[in-house]
């Protein structure tokens, strides 16, 4: 165990240091009462030292955990949010902590597990030096403050990395469970059915009959899990399409001309800087996916990550794409490849850490 930890101490250190930066920046925001003015999210707590980590959609996840789902026609409502994070919050209610504290605790612990799992996965897919740099980049990535917020992103990162890692090790049942958990957290996890299927096809040929069936099952697990959500909404709210209805109220109706509308939105007056941040990250993600392609990453992985970044644009906006793209794992391999030389790696990691702190401190200013 100690040898295992010793080998990964650099990665664990990066994960913990990056979280210390995020939590420290959030606490500093609270201590300095910065920025002054109204809380940007109705219903968000301001009393907690780390309260800014519950902003944005954190309030919605808390509402689901406390009161369950309810589709409110004509208004923004909570069936737009997937259930894994509220389920975990509710399951840990027995600890006696507030939903906010539990949420931050879960998100950060899951992030550390996710980074280690991602490192293990990377070691099996890309050269070890690139794997190490990639995991460090994932930890210090400028948008990775979202992994410390009361959001399901870090749980999904951990589950996704574990699902792919376990599939590569041929442990299909566990991979299926992790894949299903990831898809119950964020629908984007569905796209990783492509690399899971590719691994299943490649390994299925060499393994026995039952293993092959379980391999295909693991590839289908995220799809099955995503399908369980509308079924639940159908049972609880008597409305199978409640997710669609809620997404529509959030201005996220998916249409064929969505990408055109998203580009068109950029020409409209009065767009805030946060939209431009999302556009910039969308382009960075695509460039890094292309860089990952140079590493010889197979097309199902690249397709899945491109889908994670590009499919949200079909809803007619770039808004939040910087957050969505965090789960496109090959992005970090692309970054790891570009910064594999020590002379490049250190300055880029320092810059990334600085942007991570800045990103954390500006959470109250943005409301994506």
């Amino acid at each position: 165990m100690s040898a295992w930890l010793h080998e990964r101490r650099g990665i664990l250190g990066a994960a913990l240091l990056s979280r210390a930066l995020v939590l420290g920046a959030a606490a500093a925001d609270h201590r300095l009462h910065w920025p002054h003015g109204k809380v940007p999210v109705h219903g968000a707590s301001t009393a907690h030292t780390l309260s800014i980590l519950s902003y944005w959609d954190g309030v919605w996840y808390r509402t689901i955990a406390e009161q369950g789902y309810l589709l409110i026609p004509g208004r923004q409502s909570d069936p737009a949010f997937f259930p894994l994070f509220p389920i975990v919050l509710r399951a840990l209610q027995g600890l006696g902590l507030s939903f906010l504290t539990t949420g931050i605790l879960v998100a950060n612990v899951a992030f550390v597990i996710g980074i280690v799992a991602f490192y293990e996965l990377s070691k099996r897919v890309v050269p070890s030096e690139v794997a190490r740099t990639s995991a460090m980049f994932a930890a210090f990535f400028p948008m990775s403050f979202v992994f410390s917020m009361t959001y399901p992103e870090s749980l999904v990162l951990a589950a996704l990395a574990l699902a792919l890692l376990l599939a590569l090790e041929g442990r299909w049942t566990l991979s299926a469970v992790a894949g299903a958990a990831a898809a119950l957290g964020r629908p984007e996890a569905l796209f990783f059915a492509f690399p899971l299927a590719a691994i299943a096809v490649a390994r299925g040929r060499t393994s026995g009959r039952a293993a092959s069936g379980r391999a295909i099952g693991a590839a289908f697990a995220p799809i099955a899990s995503v399908a369980a959500f509308p079924l639940y909404l159908g049972w609880a709210l008597h409305n199978v399409s409640a997710w669609n209805g809620a997404e529509h109220a959030w201005g996220r109706s998916f249409k064929l001309d969505g990408v055109v509308r998203a580009v068109h939105q950029l020409h409209q007056r009065g767009q805030g800087p946060w939209l431009w941040r999302d556009v910039a990250f969308c382009l960075i993600y695509l460039a890094l996916i292309a860089a990952a392609g140079r590493l010889g990453i197979s097309w199902p992985w690249l397709l899945a990550s491109a889908a994670v970044v590009l499919v949200p644009l079909a809803s007619g906006t770039f808004l939040s794409d910087a957050r969505f793209g965090l789960l496109a794992l090959p992005v970090y391999w692309g970054a790891g490849l570009l910064a594999r030389r020590r002379i490049v790696r250190l300055p880029v990691l320092v810059l990334s850490a600085g942007l991570l702190v800045a990103g954390t401190m500006t959470i109250p200013l943005a409301n994506p």
Partner: protein
């Protein structure tokens, strides 16, 4: 004859392949179905479900989102007073863009209610103070205003109670939003959740009876909207 040349062997291997494919497919489907069931079960066991009354209220809200206009009849001092309320847009006010509004016409009185303020329509638009104008719009069943009010109750997960009642001998459901004394009461049709009567608790006024209405031309002389006001207040397209 060598084993590989046997005419029986290909058929056997094909059968074996089909068996393997069927077994693999069944295992895959079984695993996926099991995980979907577990995912469903986890949600069902851990997350609270909305009450029946909240679901009926949400259905009523859905009906309201589809309405352009509503007619209502209230009894004031024993006299029937009818109102007509239509979805409209108002503005530009103070240089801002047009706002979604409800235009309420009760006899000679015309009221415009928006999310931010209410206005009386005379020869010009005059802002009305206090909550009374919005209460009037709610009581007249203005689709947009009532939608906003019920939506806010549901958003805050205010308790909703449901009770079976009879309205003119017909079985109906009575929804009660909020605390006794200052809530909203709605009588809805049990099958469709369409609201048929409304009352605001704590107000001395009684029930107002609602019915869906056709959209009317705001230029009709009977509505007494001057040309200038019709430029400010327009019916929704």
């Amino acid at each position: 004859m060598a084993a590989s040349e046997s005419p029986i062997e290909p058929a056997r291997s094909r059968t074996g392949w089909v068996r393997m494919a069927v077994a693999s497919g069944a295992t895959a489907a079984g695993l996926a179905a099991l995980l979907a069931s577990v995912a469903f079960g986890l949600q069902a066991v851990t997350l609270p479900r909305p009450s029946r009354a909240q679901l009926i209220a949400a259905e009523t809200l859905r009906w309201l989102t589809r309405q352009d206009a509503v007619e209502s009849v209230a009894f004031v001092r024993g006299r029937a007073v009818s109102s007509y309320c239509v979805n409209a847009t108002v503005g530009p006010l103070d240089g801002s863009r047009r706002l979604n509004a409800s235009l309420l016409i009760t006899g000679r009185r015309r009221l415009v209610d928006t999310r931010f303020a209410s206005f009386r329509l005379g020869s010009a638009l005059r802002e009305e103070d206090g909550p009374l104008p919005a209460i009037r719009a709610v009581r007249a069943g203005c689709p947009r205003t009532l939608q906003r009010r019920i939506g806010r109750f549901l958003d805050k997960r205010v308790p909703v109670c449901v009770r079976r009642v009879f309205l003119h001998g017909t079985p109906m459901l009575r929804l009660f939003f909020g605390c006794p004394g200052r809530g909203l009461l709605l009588i809805v049709e049990p099958r469709t959740s369409v609201p048929v009567a409304i009352r605001i608790a704590g107000q001395r006024t009684g029930w107002a009876y609602l019915s869906p209405a056709e959209r009317r031309d705001l230029a009709r002389p009977a509505l007494r909207l001057s040309r200038r006001l019709r430029l400010i207040v327009k019916a929704d397209v």
